[in-house]
Symmetry: C2
Subunit: 309 residues, 2 copies
Amino acid sequence: MSKELIFGHQSPDTDAIVAAKALSYLENKLGRDTEAVALGEPNEETKFVLDHFDEPAPRIIEKASAEVEDVMLVDHNEPQQSVSDIADVTVTHVVDHHRIANFNTAQPLFYRAEPLGCCSTVIYKMFKENNVEIPAKLAGLMLSAIISDTLLLKSPTTTQTDVDVVKDLAKISGTDYEAYGLDMLKAGTNLASKTETELIEADAKSFNLNGSTVRVAQVNTVDLAEVFDRQAAFEAAAKAENDANGYDLFLILATNILDSNSELLVVGAPTAPVEAAFGKKIENNRISLPGVVSRKKQVVPPLTDAFNA
Amino acid sequence: MSKELIFGHQSPDTDAIVAAKALSYLENKLGRDTEAVALGEPNEETKFVLDHFDEPAPRIIEKASAEVEDVMLVDHNEPQQSVSDIADVTVTHVVDHHRIANFNTAQPLFYRAEPLGCCSTVIYKMFKENNVEIPAKLAGLMLSAIISDTLLLKSPTTTQTDVDVVKDLAKISGTDYEAYGLDMLKAGTNLASKTETELIEADAKSFNLNGSTVRVAQVNTVDLAEVFDRQAAFEAAAKAENDANGYDLFLILATNILDSNSELLVVGAPTAPVEAAFGKKIENNRISLPGVVSRKKQVVPPLTDAFNA
């Protein structure tokens, strides 16, 4: 059996990095030969997590097919979110918690998705099903991924399973998850040291919505003014990304992780489906979205419906 | 939580019928409200199985959206193999053992696929993971599905997991699986009483291969002469199906289940990719395929490659 690479999506967040490490540990215990890699540098939050648990950052790859024939995907399945030469390798395993879109295979494969708050929660279940023990350090990393994806269990994507798994992983890793989680989330909102381009590319995903390429970035903060004091510069950065990459529309979801409210900055066209999606007019290129914290659950589905209407 | 329907693919085989019943039993034990239905009449083999274990045939549906909003798919995911109004309902669960193709969702869902010989083998694993006991009668049905899909564990799709699960299900159901399995497979090869159209539609699937709609039927027999004594009539039936349904190409895989050899009857166009797929010339509309018994593993992948070449 030849070696396989395991990786999460481009612009990796904490779950994309950690889920690859967790699945690689599990698959190697089950007798496969895998290496967890990443499609980009860890973001500020992930660096805090890796430092805290004394875990090295994964090797970053640009392409997969030069090294391996087979790969495993975590935390994504859509090809445009994956490695650039995904069409040249065979996907043997997917573990995910997103919708399935434009993912096609020639052969049967292992595919495990559940509508849970975090990919690492799905992998936790797979450890249990296979009777493989989770080491304390890995438990701390997986705990961090769930806290990241669920904004400390406050996002509407959070399920009872995520809550139960967080408690068990906190116990295994000996972590006070509420105090640690707040420190971790705050570490990811250090906006002052970053350029607008860095901030909007740190956690961004592309979606093909009825023919339009829509880029949706999320920027977490503890104060929305931190973002909108720099609104003109964010707009310029988004426009430059649209021009350079052929995106039709760039949406920046700025989220206050303390009070769970967001403001959406809209750059590009068409804007009518965005207004239709949220039932509000865009003013000063912005739409206020109180109570919205989840790109996956509260932003992409209404956008998808509006673009297809 | 509103009721959901669970069904396998059109032209259901034993696994499509049984996997729906097995998943429905499991999901109902887990607290959901589901009903196993089917997209067509049970075939001769499935009737033998249902009779043997004194189990009623499932209700047959033409459409799903008039009754429910949500459905679960077993043993398939490709929309053209599913209920005709699949676009009008939400798929919440898929359990499958096939490739993934043209399957897209707006929302995260539960998706469980493994490259095992039978969908019922995947569902057996889910019973174990959820600590739900399999009743003796359901064990007999699931055993039958695995025997059917793996041709009594002889198909190249058979994995060690299928073998282990067959042995456990035989024990739970108190079945001598080798003797029963042979009787069951023979019951499915009663060709004399059926018209050619009935025989080619009893286990047929459509595939979109690089723009061509290719229908691949499998007809099991204990003597290939039983099929090819009627070759002209099979060709006429396939041509009529092509004309009526817009298929470009109709392939009839006639398989001798005793010696694991097949002969492929080719009706329609293009034929060049079929010859390329198997590295042989079509003679008298036929290609001899010794050792080929699996549509999924030995027919569709080389066809897919040849059509995309």
